[in-house]
């Protein structure tokens, strides 16, 4: 389908985008130097802020600190311990389950909203665009306060709802807490993803729609033939960034226990929370570093798998 090909605005995720082909060799060398110079400021700061601390963390992960007796080299013992640590795997399992459910729901909403706004069939586009993005701008501490009230069963809105309906649901019963967290995370990040989709849609030349309209295509056909393919690239990006985000879930389970009792949130509820508690209350910096690196490897593997799939689907088209 020719339309789809032309409107595929986002390049595949890993391979380098279609830079101009075949410049003269001498120019190529000059550009190579220029390329390095352009990337250098980002690269240097990146090394300072990420690479060096990561290497340092990798170094720390080979040690065990003790309150008494100082730091001892233990080789890969921290990693061995981690693979046998049921608390770690409990957290990993939880973020996997969470990701599998929450990310698709959130992205579907985000995409539907972006399509709705882009179709211009909605009244008050500017209002909605701002409103839906707004939660992203609310600091986590404040948003947890707000949701704590909305979902509270005793003094909160949910309690009033229960009262009115004669039900006895508790959003923060241990079995339900993850769903409530999903509600908060979806609230906070749908707008962000919507904007990504929306700007990808904005990049589609509108002549395409006009041409399609003249050919007699209806809205749904246009969505299927032009808009969805145009979103494919951004979809891969948003999935990857959402996976990274949910795998690093921290704020909500960190703040919840201060508001709600026994919601089932443990100190190892998510791997990131576990790493924090190990490093901050347990003085187990080396173990926490090992955990972080293993978690990063898992995240990269999953993100990479998504990317490969995204690419394969792209070339199937």
């Amino acid at each position: 389908m020719d339309l789809a090909r032309r409107s595929d605005v986002t390049p595949p995720a890993t391979s380098s985008p279609d830079a101009a082909r075949d410049p003269a060799p001498a120019r190529k060398r000059r550009r190579s130097r220029a390329g390095l110079a352009f990337i250098a400021p980002f690269g240097a700061l990146f090394a300072l802020v990420f690479i060096v601390p990561i290497l340092y963390a990798a170094f720390l992960s080979l040690f065990q600190e003790r309150l008494l007796g100082g730091t001892t080299f233990v080789g890969f013992a921290n990693y061995g311990k981690l693979f046998r640590d049921p608390q770690f795997w409990d957290g990993v399992g939880r973020v996997f389950r969470f990701t599998l459910v929450q990310v698709p729901i959130m992205l579907l909403f985000a995409m539907a909203l972006a399509l709705a706004l882009d179709s211009r069939r909605v009244h008050g586009i500017r209002f909605f665009r701002a409103t839906i993005f707004l939660p992203y701008a609310v600091p986590a501490i404040v948003s947890t306060l707000m949701w704590g009230f909305l979902l509270g069963v005793k003094y909160g809105l949910f309690g009033s709802l229960n009262h009115a309906l004669g039900t006895d649901l508790d959003p923060f019963a241990p079995g339900n807490t993850l769903i409530s967290i999903g509600l908060m995370v979806t609230w906070a990040f749908t707008g962000f993803n919507m904007l990504i989709f929306y700007s990808a849609l904005k990049a589609v030349p509108r002549e395409l729609y006009e041409a399609a309209a003249i050919d007699g295509a209806n809205e749904f056909q246009i969505i299927r033939a032009i808009k969805l393919p145009a979103l494919r690239g951004s979809l891969v990006v948003t999935i990857i960034f959402s996976i990274i985000g949910t795998f690093q879930m921290f704020n909500e389970p960190q703040i919840l226990p201060t508001m709600v009792a026994n919601s089932g949130v443990t100190t190892y509820y998510t791997p990131n929370l576990y790493a924090y508690n190990l490093a901050f209350t347990g003085s187990q910096q080396g173990y926490a570093a090992a955990l972080a690196l293993v978690m990063a490897a898992i995240t990269i593997a999953v993100a990479y798998a998504v990317q490969i799939r995204g690419l394969r689907n792209a070339s199937d088209q």
Binding site: P11, P17, A19, R33, R121, R126, P139, M146, W187, T190
Partner: protein, 302 residues
């Protein structure tokens, strides 16, 4: 070449066909969007309502009901007066971090994204892999190594401890790369170079203007993420005079929500939270124009 700015009447068959730029509004779609907007606004309504309550009313009235006394102005005045008016200092700090951080990070991302998309250099793939891989490392676990490194460099407890990390926006780099690949025609760059422009000049004069809409996107995301940055400043800063708003507000909140005899100032926490969101709304609405004004991407493609 500017399809979005020239609304054109579409062909005659009104009804089933629509004009591309001004289709018939759909009540169904509007209502569905409005439902989601309601979900987004409900918690914020709580915030606004409770910012109008005194501390005493806050603990004793229903969350979505107004207090006995309208205390919004009192609360705002108190926010700016509490602890010798440190809130204004936090506000200024946050603005500093946000303005400098977002501007520099957007520029660096544009520079890097341009290099990735339009220039060749060795190790490009490795570079991308390392960047994307690094952001998969949970930030919490990096905080302590980062702290130790920065302490070594004498940067802790200075604004640099917040600014330097905020200059790096991997997601921005990614967006810029994607946008540059699409929005900046290589032919245009070649032409500029044949005319004798150097690489930097070509970037600044030709590419950067074309990237304006993308830059606004990245700027906005950087803006928000630096504005909401909490964990890093918490680790890096010990002097409240350098705190950003997030850390300051959280500290006020903790006064009353951890065991001890700290002051309970939830009304100030909520009011100050509301005050911090307002600049973000303004920034967003202010930049809206750029979203609106048809991305030049489309122009180039068409």
């Amino acid at each position: 070449m500017h399809p979005t700015s020239s609304p054109r009447a579409a062909g005659g068959k009104a009804g089933r066909l629509y004009t591309v730029d001004n289709p018939k509004k759909s009540a169904t779609v509007t209502v569905m969007t409005a439902l989601f907007a309601f979900y987004c606004l409900l918690p914020l309504a709580w915030l606004v309502i409770n910012a109008t309550k005194s501390q005493a009313d806050f603990v004793s009235t229903f969350g979505l009901a107004p207090g006995r006394k309208f205390a919004l102005w009192d609360n705002i005045v108190e926010v700016f007066r509490y602890q010798d008016g440190i809130f204004s200092r936090w506000l200024v700090n946050t603005l500093l971090y946000v303005v400098v951080g977002a501007t520099v990070s957007t520029f660096l991302a544009a520079l890097g994204g341009y290099a990735l998309a339009k220039l060749d250099f060795r190790g490009k793939r490795v570079f991308l892999f390392v960047v994307l891989g690094s952001i998969s490392v949970p930030g919490i676990a990096l905080a302590i190594p980062q702290f130790l490194l920065f302490a070594r460099l004498g940067l802790t407890n200075t604004p640099w401890a917040i600014l330097l990390p905020s200059f790096i926006n991997p997601f921005g780099l990614y967006l810029m790369w994607v946008f540059t690949a699409e929005a900046v025609p290589s032919g245009l760059l070649e032409a500029a170079k044949i005319d004798g422009a150097g690489e930097l000049r070509t970037f600044l004069r030709i590419a950067l203007p074309l990237l304006a809409p993308a830059s606004v996107t990245v700027l906005l995301f950087s803006f928000v993420s630096i504005w909401n940055n909490y964990f890093l400043p918490l680790i890096m800063l010990k002097d409240p005079a350098w705190y950003p708003l997030t850390v300051g507000i959280n500290q006020w909140n903790k006064l009353g929500s951890t065991a001890g005899n700290g002051a309970l100032v939830q009304n100030l926490v909520i009011t100050s939270a509301l005050l911090t969101i307002i600049p973000l709304i303004i920034a967003f609405l202010g930049l809206q124009r750029y979203w609106q004004s048809g991305l030049s991407l489309g122009a180039v493609k068409g």
